[in-house]
Amino acid sequence: MRMAIETFNLTRRYEDNVAVDNLTLRVPQGEIFGFLGHNGAGKTTTISMLTTLLLPTSGTAAIFGHDIRQENLQVRQHIGYVPENVRLYNDLTVAENLQFFAALSGVSAAPQRIIEVLELLGHPEWRGLRVGELSKGMRQRIGLAQALLHRPSILFLDEPASGLDPEGTRAISDLIVWLNEEFGITVFMNTHQLAEVTKLCTSIGIMNHGRLVMADTLKNVLARFPDHHSLEEIYLEVERQERSRA
């Protein structure tokens, strides 16, 4: 099985604070991986390292076999990234924003690809709208569109449904599943929305104070805690165990 993400002892320190502590993780191609953890657990720092925005203090990581330090340009060609609360450029239209990011990624036939991607989202009519006029949910979907322009093999989503209403959350979730099933895109997402994780994800990892305390398929995780009825209960139980261990 080909690994989309492989990390070994990946560590990031900010002065005395260890944000990510010896993270060793393998995410196979084609998974939808939910990365869980409390605020400040190290999820965003991990995504930042895997998307080459941040250099690790120590350890290694590879995306489809490309080292994030040595081959960062190859890594960036493989990945699509949607940060939390994506805002893009408010004074530009959707098409102009997508044109800019397509050009940065070296996408050929960009105008045609922009139409394709907006059609994938089911909203080709958004093309001429100014981003500043869009709702948060619409902007989040345009953020996803910009991440898809160069046909990435893996999507990194940081709290994709953060602040969205139930309808917006559902639309994003459906899109993620569809992209995974239709195009085989691996998805790595940070999230707090445990109900969505149960519906979407094939495997999960739980971070606690920079350390990965659990990583497995969702099926195995649920089987490991037969007395707990939901992922939320399991998550809280893991957090409780970690607190008592500390």
């Binding site: 925005l53 990234y81 004074d91």
Partner: protein, 311 residues
């Protein structure tokens, strides 16, 4: 198109969509019209008064007539020095402050840097894009002022005068680059957009007003006594300390050289060309030093600390 050119183009387009920038630019050009108009009216009045005086003296049979006042064409544009040193600096601050802080706050930098773009390419693109905006703006000011000189002033400038105006525009570009690079450096270092804008303006005031005023206080005064009336006059003279302080003020450099370039008589152009070129090169050098320092500091900070884009 490579990443630098793409980012530069986006910056260039973004500047002309920025309402604050457009408002200040329009104000700048409107001030030019007013300035040329006032300058032209003043010159015409001087000439009219002279002609009236000559006519009156001739009618009285006086043969020793006063010399005709010299019409220094570029003097009409001399207020440009003031406008560039004030409005130009503010425009450059607006451009520099917008270049990074907004994207830092919105997370836009993360999106760009998750693409095949290096951090130095991003910064270079932003710098070039905004420098191009300044160049276009000053080009516009140059053409606009020449046109005003002809249309309002009714004066066709000589080639030498066009050259002087162009030399001034070159210095204005170097001057505005200082405040662009300073605001960009601050927007790299600081987290709050309002703070970046305020600190940039305070730095501009310090360099433009405080330092020259301090230099003025360090000048030596020589006393001259009027032999007829017995009145005494204080004439300030440069000292080593005042010169050293003024050297630190880009505004002082721009104004001093601007006065030399824009207030000279047309007849003296050829005579003074050699000296002027020497002074111009020295001024250009003095104006480029701060930009180079600010840019270098910006690159070092931006390349070294990758967490700056993640906050």
């Amino acid at each position: 198109m490579n990443a630098i050119a793409l980012i530069a183009r986006k910056e260039f387009q973004a500047a002309f969509r920025n309402r604050l920038f457009i408002t200040i630019t329009v104000l700048f050009l409107a001030m030019s019209i007013l300035s040329v108009y006032i300058g032209s009216v003043t010159k015409r009045t001087e000439l009219r008064v002279y002609n009236q005086t000559v006519a009156s003296l001739t009618a009285q049979g006086v043969t020793a007539l006063p010399p005709q006042p010299e019409i220094h064409t570029l003097t009409i544009l001399s207020n440009l020095t003031e406008y560039v040193s004030i409005v130009g600096a503010i425009l450059a601050v607006v451009l520099g402050y917008n270049a990074l802080i907004e994207e830092k706050e919105s997370g836009g930098l993360k999106l760009i840097l998750s693409r095949p773009v290096y951090r130095d390419q991003l910064l270079t693109g932003k710098l070039l894009g905004n420098a191009a905006v300044i160049a276009v703006l000053l080009g516009l000011v140059f053409v606009f002022n020449l046109a005003l000189l002809v249309l309002i002033g009714g004066i066709w400038p000589t080639l030498g005068e066009v050259g002087r105006l162009l030399s001034f525009v070159g210095l204005a570009f170097a001057y505005m680059l200082i405040f662009l690079s300073l605001a960009m450096l601050l927007s790299i270092r600081m987290q709050n957009s309002a703070a970046v804008f305020l600190v940039s303006l305070v730095a501009w005031m310090l360099l433009s007003f405080v330092i020259p005023q301090m230099a003025e206080t360090m000048m030596a005064n020589s006393t001259v006594i009027n032999s007829i009336s017995g009145a005494t006059n204080q004439i300030p003279q440069d000292t080593a300390a005042s010169q050293a302080l003024n050297f630190l003020s880009p505004t002082w450099h721009l104004r001093s050289m601007g006065e030399q370039l824009l207030e000279a008589a047309p007849g003296s152009v050829i005579l003074k060309t050699g000296t002027l070129i020497g002074h111009w090169l020295l001024t250009l050098f003095a104006l480029l030093i701060p930009s180079i320092v600010f840019m270098a500091a910006g690159y070092i900070t931006f390349l070294r600390d990758e967490t700056l884009t993640l906050e």
